[in-house]
Symmetry: C2
Subunit: 208 residues, 2 copies
DNA sequence: TGCATCTGACAAGGGGTCATGTCAGTATGC
DNA sequence: GCATACTGACATGACCCCTTGTCAGATGCA
């Protein structure tokens, strides 16, 4: 009755421990949030709406997240990690030089964004200025993306201008947004070529 | 007593007509809004706060704007119009070829943004995804900026790729944001040169 | 001076959200 | 079978915001 909550007995439920259940609920919340953000926009998405989409109650929301912003950060991390990983992976394969690598990476990037336009909109546009923490997280994600491209060009780490890198990824991002705003009117290869010209500001002068 | 409100008599007050007073209140609201957005961020700025900053009551807010979004659009228009005009103006003067023109325009752009970082943050970052109307307004502003640079390059209107234009301005914008995030660490000329490399994706191949 | 109009201050209804609390029902381990 | 811990549904209070309304006082015009 007194001090037996020091050890968490962690009863098993439906075949999983308390920790596992908590983790699963957390995952469900993140997934539901990404979906709901995409449908209603981040600013119009309440905690209640996310919980309903996840099939959980608000009580379980505050079990895993301090507030709405914490959930957004978790979603942002999940989404960008997957995206950057996919982009990096596509750099491998049949090697056709730096330009070929970057081309494949850009194609992957645009394809992934096109696959879920709503989510892309949320995580490229809507999160701007939500909070300093989110901003910082977003900048870091862009930085990782920029590094991936610089790596593909074969640029040595000490030969990279952070400002130019930021401009380059920002440009690719806005190119993707313009493409999306047009309803993906242009064929993918054209989009990739345009983006490649932006990326080429990093690479060696002559590049085909 | 019946139908004498068809004509607005418009009494004079403090030396100005009703229309003039309304317009002046509107201007004060817009100015106060830009200031308050910069201080507290758009999403944390209530109608009440703007009115207090303007030294007016909420009653006068709804006299000029249907809602908070309408005020944001008005502010966005005012700010971007001034910015684009300043950038275009700086293209003139001692002509040193396309690259010189673009350099001067970029210098103006960065200088104006640096002069009011808070406002820049609001109107470059925070307004993303506020509403479809605001998004559209913002895209148009970016388009006008892109056109100004393309004009400075001397690019014929039919030789412009909208996608590449969008990527270019987006890149310059993000470069400015990265510069601001660094606390304006780098000297302006370096920033301008980096941005010029981005802009050069539009211009003729060889450019000094 | 007197009246009509405009102004600024305040109030309040209505709505929504956040975060926490309560409680009966249910699955689990013993 | 029974006690225990967990779950889901609902409820609550506090807070903030939008929007409209009221009203006394100031200001200009005749």
């Amino acid at each position: 009755m007194m001090a037996d909550s020091i050890q968490t007995p962690s009863k098993r439920y439906r075949g999983s421990s308390a920790e596992e259940r908590r983790a699963e609920r957390r995952t469900r919340l993140v997934r539901a949030a990404v979906r709901t953000y995409g449908q209603r926009g981040y600013h119009n998405t309440s905690v209640k709406a996310v919980c309903e989409a996840a099939g959980l109650t608000e009580r379980y929301f505050y079990e895993s997240f301090a507030n709405s912003e914490a959930l957004l950060v978790a979603c942002l991390r999940a989404v960008t990690q997957r995206l950057v990983a996919a982009v990096r992976d596509s750099a491998g394969g049949a090697d056709t030089g730096p330009a070929g690598r970057v081309r494949r990476m850009l194609a992957t990037y645009f394809t992934v964004l096109q696959r879920d336009p709503a989510a892309a909109r949320v995580f490229l546009v809507e999160i701007g200025g939500v909070s300093p923490l989110v901003d910082q997280e977003f900048r870091q994600a862009l930085g990782r993306f920029a590094d991936a491209i610089a790596d593909a060009w074969g640029l040595p780490p000490d030969g990279r201008d952070p400002l130019l890198l930021a401009g380059m990824v920002g440009g690719v991002m806005h190119l993707a947004l313009a493409w999306a705003a047009s309803g993906y009117a242009r064929p993918l290869p054209q989009v990739v070529e345009a983006a490649l010209r932006l990326c080429a500001v990093l690479g060696p002068a002559g590049e085909g």
